[in-house]
Symmetry: C2
Subunit: 208 residues, 2 copies
DNA sequence: CAGCGAATTCAACGTCCGTAGAATTCAACG
DNA sequence: CGTTGAATTCTACGGACGTTGAATTCGCTG
């Protein structure tokens, strides 16, 4: 008799080895926020998806709002990704075409898609996510714009950026969230060719 | 003492005259769904905004899902609005410019704004709203497209429509939901001039 | 091996939710 | 005037939610 009351492992307590629960929770949170938006996602469902007790979520991240903030922290710094992408532009492709191609490459990269969907889905419901998205867009668009903004009337710059934002935002939502058939199935190159000139127009064209 | 137990009007029971509660509930639902999305909006908050007991909401519309469906029923039939708008196109403006101008006029019309926000906010969270939005966009875009689709390779038609959808969707979200400053403040005419040529490109331009 | 801190679960609290049923009042029609 | 049906509120149930505190186990340091 080896103390049968202790033989059945009590389920509580710390686990052996590196469980990776903290990361698992964050990934589960991204998926749930992406699928249901901020209100629709529940801590209990996130915990279940991560194979973990709901209280552990609270232990690591405190409140739901803080977990959301942590989940929205982009795995890629936008400014870095942008400048890196701009650096390797091939000659022969316009800046607009290159921007679309780079954005799609970034969005298609593994691990980014969930964050993107979560961000978009939540941005329309949570003001915090909306602010984050506005900041991200401003940073991601004003950079390229500044590099070609000579000769255009300066007070129109933010207007141009906002126009670009509408097209890129619509592309992201249509392709990754709403699933507009043809746009969701088209290849990044096809889309870059179709949409690139539009971005060029907003960058430097005559918009008044 | 004039029967004090009866003097205080019991709060239950039917009210005199036409209370308009059913309509009030629907309008309150639109506002709440617009502000919080499908999950975030609560029947109790909708009832409170309508000045009504939550049970009355249930009495009129049954379940929350059915109330949502009723609230999403557009006050304007899209096909009617579209054909009416197309009819009165002024000469000298391109079809794309006219589409943007008409869409903005429709969106700015009183009573439409709430529905639009509710639709957009919910479309990214509720699959039903997403389907409604896809249908609406298909109907609203394929019509104008068909009127100029001669000479373009026919299997690209739905691709063109989807591209237009991304730009119009991005415009609506950026202007009415996320509030991209310059785009939110610009006049419909300004936007029509800036964006119209983009729609023209997607309608008939070279996109491959 | 003793002890401390971190990880993990359990059980529970209080709150809000959507919904249901019964009760009450009004309007309309005979 | 009596009856019927619709409008309206009250009360309440069961469930899910976010959060908390205590208890348990592990890893690490000395």
């Amino acid at each position: 008799m080896t103390t049968p009351a202790h033989r059945t492992r009590s389920r509580t307590g710390r686990r052996s080895g590196d469980s990776g629960s903290k990361v698992a929770i964050l990934e589960a949170a991204r998926v749930q926020f992406a699928e249901c938006g901020y209100h629709g996602a529940t801590i209990r469902a996130i915990a279940a998806r991560a194979g973990v007790d709901p209280a552990l979520v609270h232990h690591f991240y405190g409140t739901k709002e803080r977990l959301f903030a942590a989940a929205m922290e982009l795995p890629v710094t936008p400014s870095e990704a942008i400048t890196a992408a701009l650096a390797k532009r091939e000659p022969g492709s316009s800046l607009g075409t290159h921007m679309v191609r780079s954005a799609l490459a970034l969005w298609e990269s593994p691990g980014m898609r969930g964050s993107l969907q979560a961000m978009l889905r939540s941005a329309l419901t949570s003001e915090q996510a909306a602010a984050t998205l506005r900041d991200f867009m401003a940073e991601a668009i004003l950079g390229p714009l500044a590099s070609v903004a000579e000769g255009t009337s300066p007070d129109r710059t933010s207007y141009r950026a906002a126009l670009i934002a509408t097209q890129m935002l619509g592309l992201a939502v249509g392709r990754y969230v709403l699933g507009f058939g043809p746009v969701a199935e088209a290849s990044p190159d096809e889309l870059a060719i179709a949409i690139g000139p539009v971005i060029d127009r907003y960058l430097t064209g005559d918009i008044s």
